[in-house]
Subunit: 424 residues, 2 copies
């Protein structure tokens, strides 16, 4: 059987499993999560051995230590996953919620209730912990899931899936509800994108290239996640100390994540006042400043060494570095800032620092992004921080779910209408 | 300029207009709808003349009278559109609604507010009234819209768009918020499907072929609408009179629409009791019965003439006839009915006739569709009937919107976070 056929069979089996899961009780679904924690312990030696084999193979291929770190599982990380499972058990059920209801024409009783999406497809990269997170959130919300992780994590994901499926068996849920696709060929990912009618949503998690590929090729509805070309804009009314603190935090606290700042915008009227200190301190921390001509001149005058300076190209304004670089542009006022962000941003997280009330309103109203901050760092964009519970990703599209996606992002609704023989 | 470039320019202009519309007041948006009614009167002669030219050209091409009727505008139909505009003005605003809100980490005030989607693309067929409906709903919800109607309605749509744009001008809203694409070539539709990043959602309205094409080719997120392969299932506990009445209504009241029944399922234990009368009456009304072998035998025994009988093929179970045909299958019990519907249905509207409480629960829980009926006709699925107000289509997918789509289907949300300098 070729990969295309194999993937289709797996998707058909997932759909059949989803039909059964849709009517599984909360006790059964929570029971599966509790069993997952038990099975992760039972299978821990096998999981860690598989992960060690993945890491050895990755190192032999010359893969960098950053990626190796993302790939690595250890007893502490597995304990963290088990803790997350316990929290998910405690989270309230979102299924069955009556979203709205009324009596309509001729006395028909209508209610709109929350139901599972059906079959969720996840396409992701190195991190094997996503396998546990995604599968557990899917089961909590009554969905079947097809997992297509990174090729370098295939052994780890196989071992993890074995443990997760054992948990399904322990509570008599259908085993096909969690399936790991063959990640050793590109074809299984491509095949998954063709499964319109069998797979209800595809969630890509990873770099911009992966997400772009899925968006361009998928016939299955996609929720775009993750890419964060986030800006901090310093309005002329910004408190200088607050401006400095927010820029440093948004850029430096964890530069490799999607809600880190990639671009600094400043009003011309305060650029000479604010930028020298910020530029010096960013460069001192090892950040390369990718500047428009005016910002470049100010940074040079502030004594920033040439090795930390570079002239910005048009491409830079649209680039998510995920690294120790920041683009810097000087402009005039909140309208120009909004236009720049709406042109080059990725609809993720955007911040303004201002002490002017109307300017804050203009910015939050005009910027088109999942999360818009006034006087706070972009780094807060996170499902847990927002109080949404378990997060399956951060949506940067506007359809279905926007921003951090909690449990309801994996649900749909259904209208149920009860009559006594009404006809039209 | 080729069609691809032209479409891209139109999409860019729509995006710029959407940014302005996103902060337009309710008074401005409602003012635009009121001005639309005025301008439709002012432009009425030009609109009717353009429509007459479209109809003449369509007749010359030999297009059937059913399609001609859908294409036709007249003073009564335009008056109906103006009435719908008045109702839309009266409908409450959905923008700005705070969906949820709380104080999060370190005292940041978070709220999730309802915002426009941005740019909506509509691809549709003959009906020019969709031009008015879609454009007015888009403006009410703060969205720009790109309209790609049927080639045979191009003159009508151009004339209508002229009136609608005049209404935007009257209230100082950006004229590019409503644009009619060139429908004389296929390319504009294809180009629209490539406008990822400029167009936020594409809604195809029309036949299954059109919808399939858009789903398969669009890089822009799509909301599938319309296809309705709807079933009525008669459980062994069904009240015979109610069963008869619901089947006749669901099939015959308006066979050409998406919520009409296309398939009848009956329990074997009551097939001999219920089917003879239903089969005779359907055939007497001119409906061809597309039967499995058992149903065929019962219909023949009931005296249904051969010209109204045909043996069902596998393909029939998945076919939306939109015509005077119904497929008929005999099976055993609610689980088989659910399996059949979930295999062949189009997730639109499904009905059971039963007097058994548990069976009703099993059916509504197990059937995967936008609307599931107990003891009522499938014909009620409609945004107006469901109390959702203006309807832009009926979604048959599970992401973003399901079932009749009201005004909120054209919105997204945005998290706004207000701090006092918080960093992480």
């Amino acid at each position: 059987m070729n990969v295309q056929e194999q993937t289709k069979r797996q998707a058909q089996a997932a759909k059949a499993a989803a039909t059964l899961l849709a009517t599984a009780s909360l006790e059964q679904r929570n029971g599966a999560l509790q069993a997952m924690a038990v099975e992760l312990s039972t299978h821990e030696d096998a999981i860690l051995a598989a992960n060690a084999a993945d890491i050895e193979a990755a190192r032999a291929e010359g893969i960098g230590e950053g990626l190796i770190d993302r790939l690595m599982l250890n007893p502490e990380r597995l304990a963290g996953c088990k803790q997350a499972l316990a929290e998910l058990v405690a989270a309230p059920d979102v299924l069955g919620e009556v979203v709205c209801g009324r009596v309509i024409t001729a006395g028909i009783h209508m209610k709109e209730v929350r139901v599972p999406l059906g079959v969720v497809g996840m396409i992701y990269e190195a991190r094997p912990n996503v396998t546990i997170d995604a599968a557990s959130i899917a089961i909590k919300t009554g969905n079947a899931i097809l997992l297509r992780g990174g090729k370098i994590a295939q052994r780890s994901n196989d071992a993890l899936t074995k443990a997760l499926v054992a948990a399904l068996a322990a509570v008599d849920l259908p085993l096909d509800a969690i399936q790991n696709l063959d990640a050793t060929s590109r074809e299984s990912g491509t095949a998954l994108m063709q499964m319109h009618g069998l797979v209800d949503v595809l969630i890509p998690r990873g770099g911009a290239g992966l997400i772009q590929t899925v968006v361009e090729n998928s016939k299955v509805p996609v929720i775009e996640t993750g890419t964060g070309n986030c800006h901090v804009y310093l309005h002329e009314s910004a408190d200088p100390a607050m401006a400095h603190s927010i820029v440093m935090n948004a850029k430096l606290q964890r530069p490799s994540v999607c809600n880190a700042a990639e671009s600094l915008l400043l009003d011309r009227s305060v650029a000479q006042q604010l930028l020298p200190q910020i530029a010096s301190d960013l460069a001192a921390a090892g950040v390369t400043l990718v500047c428009d001509p005016e910002a470049l001149a100010i940074a040079q005058a502030a004594g920033v060494a040439d090795e930390y300076l570079r002239a910005a190209t048009e491409e830079d304004w649209g680039t998510e570095y995920l690294d120790m670089l920041i683009s810097i542009k000087i402009l005039d006022g909140v309208q120009q800032a909004i236009e720049h962000i709406n042109t080059y941003g990725s609809l993720h997280s955007e911040a303004i620092v201002t002490s002017d009330f109307t300017t804050a309103q203009t910015f939050t109203g005009g910027v088109d992004a999942a999360a818009v901050y006034v006087n706070a760092s972009t780094r807060f964009t996170d499902g847990g921080v927002f109080g949404l519970g378990a997060e399956i990703g951060i949506s940067t599209q506007k359809l279905h779910a926007r921003g951090p996606m909690g449990l309801t992002a994996l649900t749909s609704t259904k209208f149920i209408l009860e009559g006594t023989g009404q006809v039209r």
